[in-house]
Symmetry: C2
Subunit: 383 residues, 2 copies
Amino acid sequence: MAETSGEPLDTLQTPCLLLDEARLRANVARMRAHLTGLGVAFRPHLKTAKSLDVARLAMTAPEGPATVSTLREAEYFAAGGVRDMIYGVGIAPAKLPRVAAIRAGGADLAVILDSLEQAETVAGHARRGGDALPVLIEVDADGHRSGVAPHDRDTLVAIGRCLTAGGATLRGVLLHAGDSYALSDPDAHAAAAEAERVAAVTAADALRQAGLPCPVVSVGSTPTARFARDLTGITEVRAGVFMFGDLFQAGTGAVEVEDIALSVLATVIGHQRAKGWIVVDAGWMALSRDRGTARQAVDQGYGVVCDRAGRPYPDLLVTDANQEHGILALRPGSGAALPDLPVGAQVRILPNHACATGAQHDRYHVLDAAGRAAAVWPRINGW
Amino acid sequence: MAETSGEPLDTLQTPCLLLDEARLRANVARMRAHLTGLGVAFRPHLKTAKSLDVARLAMTAPEGPATVSTLREAEYFAAGGVRDMIYGVGIAPAKLPRVAAIRAGGADLAVILDSLEQAETVAGHARRGGDALPVLIEVDADGHRSGVAPHDRDTLVAIGRCLTAGGATLRGVLLHAGDSYALSDPDAHAAAAEAERVAAVTAADALRQAGLPCPVVSVGSTPTARFARDLTGITEVRAGVFMFGDLFQAGTGAVEVEDIALSVLATVIGHQRAKGWIVVDAGWMALSRDRGTARQAVDQGYGVVCDRAGRPYPDLLVTDANQEHGILALRPGSGAALPDLPVGAQVRILPNHACATGAQHDRYHVLDAAGRAAAVWPRINGW
């Protein structure tokens, strides 16, 4: 896109979602270079972007590989030509017919599970359908949510045998070190990445020692992907939120605030001058209710307020939010001056959580190098 | 809808949004009867439902009146025949052309503002467009967010004169007692309603004493609407979330848990039995990130878990949520037994905040009296 093709931001109706294409491209290039250096494949997670335009920038090829968080994403990306996907949420039996329909359309969609009861259902489905559905066993890296314990050899092998005996394909193991989100030190993230790696290799070895196949050993989270130092035994890494970045990930140290590619454009609609409040038309509906930074060292309220060029105002936050109202005020204790922002002025708000903020919108207004709105990229939501 | 026309819930793909039509109708009937008894008109707020089907049940006539929170809602409801609307968020200058287009289509859409600078812009727009745009002055009932202070007669009159001199129509004053959300006692809510009423009447009197018109005196919030005992001097009441109810409003005492009409249907996808966790496929993307009950006497986590018939399991909450994973566990300290919910079992989750949970979805699956899915009602999002 040529710089001159863009529209000025004041032509946009607010609130709306802005995506800085140069930052997105740089974030993707940095992650790809890091993972290439570690000798692993990259399977970007598309749950944050939910956009074919973004996916094509993030994936290493138009056909994938990619990770999705819903079958709606799988259907959408399959229709857009993505051929290699993992649906990264434990499979429910009632979703298998939709999985089969996506696979019948030509996409190699794999599912994950972590119990023998799921394995029995999936194996039966594969046998009846004559489709050797590929399955990864979800392994619990760190107690974060789902997965078989990496040392629970009996369960891993029982699931693996059930799947292969039933006509499904055992494709490997999958882990997500979600507890890394609670860390903020590079060495701690590197240790979490190493723990994720060891858990993955332990589970893969258990399957292989039982004579079962385990071609794929898949790990990932934005912090562990960023800070992993050695991925011996891992075949691929999944990560998604790093593409856009957000204030929460900045709080973990996994991204820099100046690399955050996503923001919400808002307009000043009023003031409560005695209180030092500026009221804008972006409330929690446009920003999301996510307050993840409240648990971090620096609480960013509902977001950091920037000028139209994306430069943060000193200490100016969205300190409170109603459905369609955001209240801008200085960080408590700040000595900064409140900027003079009259009714009609536009600001940009950096999000706490790119996945949550993005999901409140149905399109990205893509910024060119001159900071002008050069394109509209649609995005999907729902299941 | 006949009871026999519905589909069983296990035909639905999860997560999805369920709406109990009988509860919705009862909630609307109760509010209407209460407001009729107080002698005021009802202008339902459609920001929670964002659905023409729901609007037609809630409004007193197919043409309105109604309240909207976005111009997208105004456009959608105008296309559906609603003719009398207030856009209840302070107007930004760049939105006036869209307001004019909606009005040119035949809908009487009014705007609100709380500053002389906005009044000058709106008056100029009205003069140039030859459309006597109706305006309500937003008055601050309780320090919650926007609005002119009710005793600030000079500002109220200056705004009123600017509007009428410029060719706009001064339609009245509008207030929202949002701080009532922090209360939980009927008498405290009644006192907040009385304070809202007094502020409204004070501001209206200031305009009238200056010779300005003030035909509409509009107040509203779900708790103050529910508990108001006298609305002398008020012409209309706005409220929206009461139609569906939610756990936060139950915490304020404004609704009963058994009257909550909205829930999210989810499917069990796994267990971490050693931890007492049941994992479902409804995470914060389906439930929203709203944790409003965390500040109330009873913290409901990300929601109260019910069986498929909508009966709460004792002490079972969504205690944590990732994007597409909800973790069900017993309330801390509970002596209840964890229900036996195998992979594939469905549960219903009552939301913390109906406005936020609804916005994560694009349709309602409407339940008939037999608890079956009898219809799909679309809903909109965005701006």
